[in-house]
Amino acid sequence: MKQKLEIKGGKDPNVVAGDDQEENKVVKARASQKYKEGFVTDIESFTLPPGLDEDTIRQISTFKGEPEWLLDYRLDAFRKWQKMEQPNWAKLKIPEIDFQAISYYSSPNANKENAPKSLDEVDPKLLETYDKLGVPLHERERLAGVAVDAVFDSVSVGTTFKAELEKVGVIFSSFSEAVHDHPELVKKYLGSVVPSSDNYFAALNAAVFSDGSFVYIPKGVRCPMELSTYFRINAINTGQFERTLIVADEGAYVSYLEGCTAPMRDENQLHAAVVELVAMDDAKIKYSTVQNWYPGDENGKGGIYNFVTKRGNCQGKNSKISWTQVETGSAITWKYPSCILRGDDSSGEFYSVALTNNYQQADTGTKMIHLGKNTKSTVISKGISVGKSQNAYRGLVRVAKKADNARNFTQCDSLLIGKSCGAHTFPYTESANMTAKLEHEATTSKISEDQLNYCLQRGISEEDAISLIVDGFCKEVFKELPMEFAVEAKALLDISLEGAIG
């Protein structure tokens, strides 16, 4: 019993109250147990000094050996950004961010060159880092059937299975490489879904983005394996601004996974990414995220500020974009993966589990913009709030005048664990077409004493019971994840739930 209490309360009963130092040690030890990705890789790196002006941007562009048009694109975005103001959201308490105190470029290669040409050239320390994170990059131990692009701070350190993918015409590379190897594709689609003027953080990203992944699936090709990017923030006081662009040509299919972690630090770190998806006629893109950025400690110190703009353009007829996300990390999460349903008969899906614990804040949801005829969207959102955290769903369904027979089904469920947390649902609908059919369902529930007792009586411990009940609550979303990811997502939830009762 004693041992169990320990875990629940997050405090060691043997520690004398008031003995802060001792207690801190205990808390730290436990916290590190909890966030096992919280280690720092000790590696020589090249980092730009903090600060942001046009010179910073020119420098980034020079390091990457970028063409003129891209530098112009960045500078244009920067000028737009300077005229914008940091948004103030109702449900998030965001401390003022000092953009001059952040470094905008950090590369684990001391010679400031770009990514190594092959995986053999990658620093063993980096390979070790990804091993530790469970994403092996070595030839021998690679994840079966999953190609990985590994992004470390501002650069991609390697992409696996490239040659195999090239055989079927699939382009999967770091963004920087794509700029060199496929400039016509990048130029055509960069900013086509999320323009640099879209919002404050999208503008900042367009100005300073460092790396990310680029995917192109040619006509009629079903990508033979899952593609994934693993983002890792390592350097201190740096922001990560990656950019992902995925284009599925007519009749193409791709399933893409995104994972992310960062070391535990007392300082907050900024992550402002942009993801753009384009689906042509009959193309399907399935985009899954397991977001596990460092959430800060139990007192709300440290953690990642995660401000992400993700948007998919269902440009073609009968195209489909599906977002699935499991969000357990970050001190603050602000993101609304969205679909623009432009093509007739196109469909968009959003499946989300967002868990917040301690002092985490999440404001997440989706926008489904129906422009084409017979367009369909489905939104399933599961919010779980624990501790003192605040969890908000914000969704917009908009039906344009010409979008005859648009259909939307939205279901938002919130689960509260404990008494000091909050769940909020803000569904917005705008319909300019009489034929639209929009359905919305929302529930808020708590894990009841009776449910816990029932599990206990059958021999299931309280922690396992909560995990079981939460797992059941998230069922509809988990089943949308690729298998390996579903297992990881479930394990992550369990870790994040630790100390949920006390």
Binding site: Y454, R458, G459, D471, K475
Partner: protein, 246 residues
Amino acid sequence: MLKINDVYAKAGDKEILKGLSLEVKPGEVHAIMGPNGAGKSTLGNLLAGMPHVEATQGSVDFLGKDLLDLEPEERAAEGVFLAFQYPVEIPGVNNMYFLRTALNAQRKYRGEEPMDSAQFLRMVKQKIKDMNMRDDLLKRPVNVGFSGGEKKRNEVFQMGVLEPKLAILDETDSGLDIDALKIVSDGVNQLRSPDRSFIIITHYQRLLDHIEPDFVHVLADGKIVKSGTKKLALELEEQGYGWLNQ
């Protein structure tokens, strides 16, 4: 097997059990009857270790262990099973997965190997057949959308899978139609064995036509006020509880 010694217990803030004693030997079936609010469910909850019931005096010995000293999940693993009067729903968790989690948690406590899903499936399929129940029960989320009778059946099915040493059935017969009553009592009878005991809480003597008890007790105002054999249940059915006070 079980020895309850002059126990006083509170449910919430209210003292409900007031000096209750009862001994159950291996293989015995004890029926407990008594008016509404007498404390029958409270007794079941006390034995199962439900947190809102707290013993203030007395002791309970279960197979040589001080039962009141164990956590509820430990009691379950030691072999105490409570079929709830009002089984709860757990959305999204399929019944079979729930049961496997429970069984393996109990096995782990007892130092036994976990059962893999293939083994478990085989065992569960056999049980459900033996117990004459429909196997869609397995795939559905725990008690969600179950009819009252289905919930009770599910409790008995879970008991069959978990094979407890002491099973407490709290009004498992309430709300059952005639066929379901037969299925449930057959399920119980199949499980009867020389080293498994039952405490059956019921309001109706008809259940005892199907499950023959060794003893019948009347619980009123927090204690056992009368004990007897099956005949006592028939008397109660005819005369109600009023005469006990005279």
